[in-house]
Symmetry: C5
Subunit: 360 residues, 5 copies
Amino acid sequence: MPRLMKKLSKTRGLMPGTVVFVGDKKIDKMHIRIIDYDATEIEEKTVSSIEECYPFKEKPTITWINIDGLHEVEQIEKIGRHFDIHPLILEDIANTGQRPKLDTFDQGLFIALKMLIINPESGKIQSEQFSFVVGRTFVISFQEKIGDVFEAVRNRIRKSAPRVRFMDSDYLAYTLVDAIVDNYFAILETISEQIEEIETELINDPGPGNLESIHEMKRELIYMRKAVWPLREVIGGLERIGSEFIHDPTRIYLRDLYEHTIQVIDTVETFRDMVSGLLDIYLSSVSNKMNEVMKVLTIIATIFIPLGFLAGIYGMNFDTSVSSWNMPELGMRYGYIFFWLLALLIGGGLFVFFKRKKWL
Amino acid sequence: MPRLMKKLSKTRGLMPGTVVFVGDKKIDKMHIRIIDYDATEIEEKTVSSIEECYPFKEKPTITWINIDGLHEVEQIEKIGRHFDIHPLILEDIANTGQRPKLDTFDQGLFIALKMLIINPESGKIQSEQFSFVVGRTFVISFQEKIGDVFEAVRNRIRKSAPRVRFMDSDYLAYTLVDAIVDNYFAILETISEQIEEIETELINDPGPGNLESIHEMKRELIYMRKAVWPLREVIGGLERIGSEFIHDPTRIYLRDLYEHTIQVIDTVETFRDMVSGLLDIYLSSVSNKMNEVMKVLTIIATIFIPLGFLAGIYGMNFDTSVSSWNMPELGMRYGYIFFWLLALLIGGGLFVFFKRKKWL
Amino acid sequence: MPRLMKKLSKTRGLMPGTVVFVGDKKIDKMHIRIIDYDATEIEEKTVSSIEECYPFKEKPTITWINIDGLHEVEQIEKIGRHFDIHPLILEDIANTGQRPKLDTFDQGLFIALKMLIINPESGKIQSEQFSFVVGRTFVISFQEKIGDVFEAVRNRIRKSAPRVRFMDSDYLAYTLVDAIVDNYFAILETISEQIEEIETELINDPGPGNLESIHEMKRELIYMRKAVWPLREVIGGLERIGSEFIHDPTRIYLRDLYEHTIQVIDTVETFRDMVSGLLDIYLSSVSNKMNEVMKVLTIIATIFIPLGFLAGIYGMNFDTSVSSWNMPELGMRYGYIFFWLLALLIGGGLFVFFKRKKWL
Amino acid sequence: MPRLMKKLSKTRGLMPGTVVFVGDKKIDKMHIRIIDYDATEIEEKTVSSIEECYPFKEKPTITWINIDGLHEVEQIEKIGRHFDIHPLILEDIANTGQRPKLDTFDQGLFIALKMLIINPESGKIQSEQFSFVVGRTFVISFQEKIGDVFEAVRNRIRKSAPRVRFMDSDYLAYTLVDAIVDNYFAILETISEQIEEIETELINDPGPGNLESIHEMKRELIYMRKAVWPLREVIGGLERIGSEFIHDPTRIYLRDLYEHTIQVIDTVETFRDMVSGLLDIYLSSVSNKMNEVMKVLTIIATIFIPLGFLAGIYGMNFDTSVSSWNMPELGMRYGYIFFWLLALLIGGGLFVFFKRKKWL
Amino acid sequence: MPRLMKKLSKTRGLMPGTVVFVGDKKIDKMHIRIIDYDATEIEEKTVSSIEECYPFKEKPTITWINIDGLHEVEQIEKIGRHFDIHPLILEDIANTGQRPKLDTFDQGLFIALKMLIINPESGKIQSEQFSFVVGRTFVISFQEKIGDVFEAVRNRIRKSAPRVRFMDSDYLAYTLVDAIVDNYFAILETISEQIEEIETELINDPGPGNLESIHEMKRELIYMRKAVWPLREVIGGLERIGSEFIHDPTRIYLRDLYEHTIQVIDTVETFRDMVSGLLDIYLSSVSNKMNEVMKVLTIIATIFIPLGFLAGIYGMNFDTSVSSWNMPELGMRYGYIFFWLLALLIGGGLFVFFKRKKWL
């Protein structure tokens, strides 16, 4: 589960446009991967310094520069200067507490998203900022650490004739966003399985642990919501924008992507509805269980308390020798038998009463 | 009850426009039914291969090609190629987890809907994707399995002079959507009966089973909502669209259909309101019942615990021979009688107290 | 209380535009009343066949044809044919499960509304569909059964010089809708009295019956809401519409009516707020009562259970003859007196404890 | 507290535009006060007949005619005829159940508002309709009874050189509305004090009385909301309206007033949030108290019930003379001492158990 | 925690535009700081009289006049007259209960905001009004007392070459608002830590104190919401406004600021969601604890009450000498042993029963 808020303290009081890394340092050294391709050729390499990326700016082939690690801010400033990225955008890249957004500037487009990954060990959702700049012939993407959801995209590019190889940088950008949105569906599937699991448990054997699971799911959905709602605007804006960086053939794909985003939002909202329904069931189950406990207590107590009183009476020590008014039952031949009959009568009567009340 | 989410895992990482079947395979082989008609003639047949549908593309008569079974994706791709359907739309046809949508492309319109059917055995609502493509002289519809809500439509077409025989493919499309929306009313009727049933039960004899029913109804309404809200946009869009595939005479019918959809949405929302009201009643009934149980316990316990104490006192063994201060009541002539009078007084007094408190 | 939904089963699978009566048959025979008037003359009659209405179509005087009973669909189709009413509108007239709506067609306007009547016997709200067609010189209105809220309107028309006699058919239509909206205020007054009644009851003596009343009021308000919200659109549309059937002098009255409708909606929403507040009070009262019950139980039990234990001790039969360690209290001179002092001390101490806790 | 709804029964079935007094008659005779002023002179008088107001219609000085008492409808009709007020507006003036509204007619503007006054005796909020007509050189205002919030306004006019003396009738109208909105802040202050008071009480010593106070505050806020929300539209409309009766210099004041209204709405909504938060605290406090009660019961009962059983055992009369198997403890030398040790052990053990559970 | 409402009583009945100080007097004497700078030079001084600010009006350098203390209204009126500030705006400056707003007037812009500061001692949020006027070459800001969030801004100005030194007064204004919004993030961080703390506490050891904390956090979020929602409009308006006081280079920064504000709003709403989730957990935990208490009570009582009855029976004094029917068990050789066996059987049986019910 991601923390509620990134520590922004570091950025306070600084001049706007100052590039400051906000977030936890998750990686030691920056890690730069370059994929450069056109319809016929492809080159893939991992470089160690920012400067090695510079030549790709002017190359007519499409280049995807992916940078893992955002804490070396001078490096980011360097790349910003070379690729003409506005300082306010560099600030957004380094600030990982960013809300998903779309920005245009003279030399390109800037998009920031949340990449959600299910931690394979803990089964929890982890959030990572993924932001990228789209230039005429390149896409520069920034991640907090190594490991992402783009392996399938890379494999598609490596193949000799996929659509992506014949299209511009905007289609590559679309492909990246599409991979992230696709991944949201995976997250939702996981949550949907959790919901169904808890639902079954609640009906069969509710316990205090369910409350925590419900709360956690609620939190996860609040996070997804926060990640997805602004995404709608981002993708909708991308589709409508009159930018030279988005070409017409890509628009139909963006339309499709927009609809997927709507579907994610829809599903998140539906799940929120469901989860709040689960809470209702949980509370009712708890109160039902309580009811059951109370009934048993009531039945035992209401049967045996009067009987106890009866037994108490005949344990009294009134002096029978003083007068025959004092506890004559004790001296009767069948007194004890009568006592038992009376006790059974009272007990049985109350039993029938409870049966009628449907408490048994 | 449909599952919360379709497994989309299969589509992840694939190139957009790749046709992948998403859903459960519900039928063995594709099943193709063709109805071809104009004002004067009608031809109906079931064919076994996609290729047999090809000739109807250019025929000037109206053709309705209905395909049951979506798992043979190559077949769908074949039909897509022949009838010029965009690959992204083919993808949507095969992905049964689709949100209701309307898409236009050069050769026609594409509409995806949810067809809801009440399973006659379990009484549960089942959801099936129904999507279709409207061309100039044909409608090609896709279902997940055999069995639908269009029998009445087919019968109307078979009759010699219904309106549908004189109109274009758009009217046929309208007729199909109309049949599905009509069916929503049937579902709502079923739910309305369930609501009234539970309402009566809750007033007369509430039990834990009601909670489950209420939850299930809530879920059903969430599903209906998800199926119907986007439908409004779809039909509204169909009415307003400036497409060559929608002719003016059909528009008035679409307006009517739009209002039916609004009515379905209205009713779903009203039912949601009702169902959440039911939950309130359920919870109150449970707490009322608990109250009643507690009252009985309290009455019995508060009457008999003091009496038990009283009996306990006269069961004590203080030595009366030591002094006359020790339990002189035990040696009194009418001690036992007094005991009973006192017990009746206490019991009666508490009884009156409870009567006044309106607990009895 | 109206049922949750009209049985629509009959209309399913039929050709759109087929006139089918949906609803309960509430009257044996159709009942037709005609009022025909202009500024100087008035003619009122009850006729038995549709055909007798035909001449009024072309007469320049204003005619109000009111038809009670909708189950004779052929009659409705006949009148539709003569007065050029579109088949889809005839379908809406016969389908009493209609949502309030406004439709325009070449020969006039169509308006469907819900007329709410308080059943004088049961005190429940009953809903009836009231729909009418406005032509150039006539208004044809349709009701499910005899009995309506228009008696005052009729009396006004009968008077020699009311405004209605000098104005066109649109003003007559306005008058009818106005009478229905006026009646909504009457219903709201009844509900407001019920709310205040329950409010008083809840504060003074809450009981399980209140829950049912609250639920019923909630349902009634849901119905009113369903009847009134679309009405706003209908009247707003009527005011704005550029139709030849609405003349300027009537518009100011429609504006006034629109504001009344807003006020009805406002009041319904306020009442919904109030009713949900009542539920909160009810639940709190129930839980308060429970609390009180629990307190009495606790006080009695916590005082007498320890005392019972005390009495139990001195009822033990340890053999005092074996040693003087065994229950020496029993042989003491003032043992019994000390016992009572101890009991009073314990009881009194607990009493003070409860006083301090404010449980008494 | 104002009643939920005005009795509108009297207006039902009447011709629209009929002037009927709706509300409680709160005053015996109509009471008319006239203030007539321009930049240099001022005349103030109280007149007894409507006719005495007539001359002010044409006088170029600004005249404020304030009429207390609305039940003499013929008088209102008279003034309406003389000052050319539309009959529908006269109807609105007499109907005190009006929603705040703004109406324009040929000879002026009509504004209806709710004036809220805190009854100095009961401390409850009372609502009174305040409506007025703005003509070119006059403002005619209508109140239900004597006593209003305009004393400060009158004093300002009486001073020799306030802004109001140099401006037109629209500024006078603004001044009146401003005084009413200012008064809303006073009401809100009172409510805010109540909220803080209850908050403190709830934390320190919650009781059933709080529930009633919370409910009353909720009701008051519902009323304020109903009075204020439409006011926003009224004042916004006044600011934007292209009427000849509103002059530019007044607009900036209307803008300011509009913002005050927004602030009132904001505060009402915030208070509603707060009050519903109070209900949550109240319910939790009640349930906490219940918990505490239950804990005491449980502790006492669980400690003494087993001890009672123990004492009961040694009160049994098994015949020790039959065999040494029968209750040998009774004959032991330190039996009684052991009994007490055992009892203390059990009691102490349970005490420690409860301490650990944090119930003590 | 700020009070619910400022006492506005003082302003009631006054002429609009009258400058009245609304709020608590938090400082003795007005305190005026002036920073005057251009790209090359900077002058900083603290002055004691308003008149010393006058010369800066016409000076071409940028001047920031910051005034702490609003209770000396004549001083504010003086400055208003000299700098041509509209009286209605002066009224807003002195009224610290203002809603955040943006106003334009001929000589500049007026902006009012809420500055939130966490009191370092109590840890509570304190609210202070910060309003300022932007003229062509000056910004005059007003605070209630000394101490603000602008120290970092002042330090930046003092440096020799920051952007602010080269830009106009609008950029200075932006910088001030930016510092306030940045501070909101600090507040949100504090709240987020509180939420996580309470979350942990609720899961591990819930207590009545949590309720108060939750309520306080709710209140704080209501305040933040009230401060931030209108801010969106203010900054959005500032960005879009066609005013001569906002220059194009500043707009991109305003856009950025606008997005930060949206993020604050988003976070506030998310936190509200979270906090209401916490309340649910709290209530459930309380009810779970209650359940546990009830179970212990039930188990002890249901085991020992029947056993107590059993012991009571054998404490009865039926005369065994009368007949062998009377309590023959007492005279049996192993009677006492059998009694214990029976008691263990009953106790063990109930224990197993509870185990099965999962109450243990």
